[in-house]
């Protein structure tokens, strides 16, 4: 087995120039374009963007569970604790899935196997990653996890269709956290739930994350969820990170026109304005993205510089990065 090159000076999770493409119906869909992200251990990064921005694809690339028909990682590296996951063999990668890195999915209704008992689906991940193969032990651990996520242990033998949406999502969380992963990928975990149930599930995730000091990549399109759970925020548009910073920086003074537009479009809870400020124009078509900045067609501040060639990420010292070449104009225009 080749010696694994591990460079230890890297952050816990570091993604470099990730590029993912889908082949659908003869066209190439550029789902993720040169995405670079970092995440420290125990911290939570909020990945915010609209439908089709490539959020889920990034998460699935980390776990390497992209559907193999028609999709492939064009280039880029994903380092977890200094080890490039993309170079690992399938067997090594399998040891990591569900054990060091696990995932929670969006739609609880279809995330569980309808013909297997709920408890067995939890015990399965425990048995895959534990050295002992005594079933009773795995079952005990699964029942423990059920109690932790707030489901009575005797529901071990029930089937998914006997659970409500909120309860099913708790089972998915139990599966994801059964082996105390270091990194949790949560793909819009509460979007499909009602507000009061969402509050319960969000609190559960935050509580367990703090208890086990798990790093988390939270994917969502709801800025309120980001404000409540995340430490740092990355805004993604048409498969490219357009703004990155701490929660304070992004919420207090957003600098990219798209991020500003997002905040303008959300009806604010406590003020009362007559008209919302929508972002006009259409969402981007990933099969033919414009040459320059992909937000140019919808941007009020766009000049022909924005159309010509791709905009590089301009980094500032305090870590608040923004992929826009007219930041001063935007700042002026804004005040």
């Amino acid at each position: 087995m080749h010696q694994k090159e591990i460079n230890t000076d890297m952050p816990f999770l570091s993604i470099k120039d990730l590029k993912v493409e889908y082949k659908s119906d003869g066209q190439i869909v550029h789902a993720v374009n040169d995405v670079s992200l970092q995440l420290e251990r125990g911290k939570t990064l909020g990945l915010v963007g609209e439908t089709g921005a490539g959020k889920t694809t990034i998460a699935k690339s980390i776990l390497r569970i992209l559907p193999d028909v028609g999709s492939h990682i064009a280039n880029g590296e994903i380092y977890l604790e200094g080890e490039n996951l993309l170079k690992l063999s399938e067997t090594d990668m399998r040891k990591i899935r569900g054990n060091k890195v696990s995932m929670i999915f969006q739609d609880p209704m279809t995330a569980l196997n309808p013909v297997l008992r709920v408890g067995d689906q939890i015990a399965e991940v425990v048995s895959l990653h534990s050295d002992s193969n005594n079933r009773a032990e795995h079952e005990k651990r699964a029942k423990e996890m059920l109690e932790i996520v707030g489901i009575p242990a005797e529901r071990y033998y029930a089937y998914p269709h006997q659970f409500s949406g909120g309860m099913k999502q708790r089972v998915v969380i139990a599966i994801a956290l059964a082996c105390n992963p270091d990194l949790l990928l949560a793909d819009e975990p509460t979007t499909a739930l009602d507000v009061t149930i969402q509050a319960q599930v969000l609190d559960l995730i935050a509580e367990l994350r703090n208890k086990y000091n798990t790093a988390m990549l939270l994917i969502t399109h709801d800025m309120g969820v980001v404000a409540q759970v995340c430490d740092t925020v990355a805004v993604i548009y048409a498969g490219r990170i357009i703004e990155y910073g701490t929660k304070q920086q992004i919420f207090k003074h957003p600098s990219h026109p798209y991020t500003i537009g997002l905040f303008g479009a959300i009806p604010d809870m406590n003020e009362d304005e007559e008209w919302l400020h929508p972002i006009d124009g259409l969402p981007p078509d990933p099969t033919n993205l414009p040459q320059g900045c992909s937000f140019a067609p919808r941007c009020k501040f766009a000049t022909d510089a924005c159309w010509k060639e791709p905009i590089s990420m301009n980094k500032t010292q305090d870590g608040h990065d923004c992929r826009c070449c007219r930041i001063e104009a935007v700042m002026k225009g804004e005040d």
């Binding site: 609209e50 439908t51 409500s164 909120g166 309860m167 009602d194 507000v195 009061t196 149930i197 969402q198 509050a199 319960q200 969000l202 609190d203 399109h221 709801d222 800025m223 309120g224 969820v225 404000a227 409540q228 759970v229 929660k247 304070q248 919420f251 537009g261 997002l262 905040f263 303008g264 479009a265 959300i266 009806p267 604010d268 809870m269 406590n270 009362d272 008209w275 919302l276 400020h277 929508p278 972002i279 006009d280 259409l282 969402p283």
Partner: protein, 320 residues
Amino acid sequence: MNPVIEVKNLKKYFTTPRGMLHAVDDVTFTIEKGRTLGVVGESGCGKSTLGRTIIHLHESTEGQILLNGKDVTNLKGKDLRQAREKMQIIFQDPYSSLDPRKTIDSTIREPLIVSRRFTKSQIDQKTQELMDLVGIDERLRKAYPHELDGGRRQRVGIARALALEPEFVVCDEPVSALDVSIQAQVLNLLKKLQKEKGLTYMFVTHDMSVVRHISDDICVMYLGQVVEKCSSKELFKTPLHPYTRALLSAIPSTDIDKPNKREILRGEITSPVNPKPGCRFAARCPYAKEECLKQQKQEEISPGHFVTCCRLQEISSSYN
């Protein structure tokens, strides 16, 4: 002047193999011309059924519906058709509310054709007007729904609803399936149309920030019952019913400085089939007592602010 829509003790029960499902249970409200009543609640609270029952997509089990003071509850045949032209609906799912086999043009013109009151040229002219009104450009006339994004499909749905010049429009979660940036465009369009055409809306949604922005009055529903009804400003300033307070506190706010204190509800929504009498929120309510199981009645605590909770006096002292 009569309110555009008046609903008195409206009930809608569905017979299911497991028993009688109380979807809408004794709902009463009025909506004045040009105003918007927001109906908010979680899934399964009967808000969509309420909207569909008012415009006769479902037949009401009990109670009265008045359109401009005229009773439209048990209309049949010709009268029903006329009343229906005045009451229209906009649907939630842009992908399933448009017939995939029909072009945008034929979808918008269909209500005009079916009403048999317009000549061919009138229909062409009105269809063109409607498309401009909702902001769909000319080249999409012959397009099919799958060629459009969610936002523009909703615009086609709105154009179809406005074809017969209705006075009252039920908006059944029209923006829930849309992205935030597109959502704002459609909300602004709905407000513009209300101002221009003097439309009266009943806006059904589960998203509290949307309902606050668009509605004048708000009605909070839980398992088929109206638990609280008042102006939108007052509901967000001084919510009284325990469920409304829990609902408001559960919303993750984007204001990061003010960590909102949480009133997390226990347990899950109970089943609406063969419900026991009394307050249906009792099972999850932190303040529930014996008398909550008896039949509740709606009281007007302050002008225009109705609440259905028998223990309100004792509870409200512990709020501040």
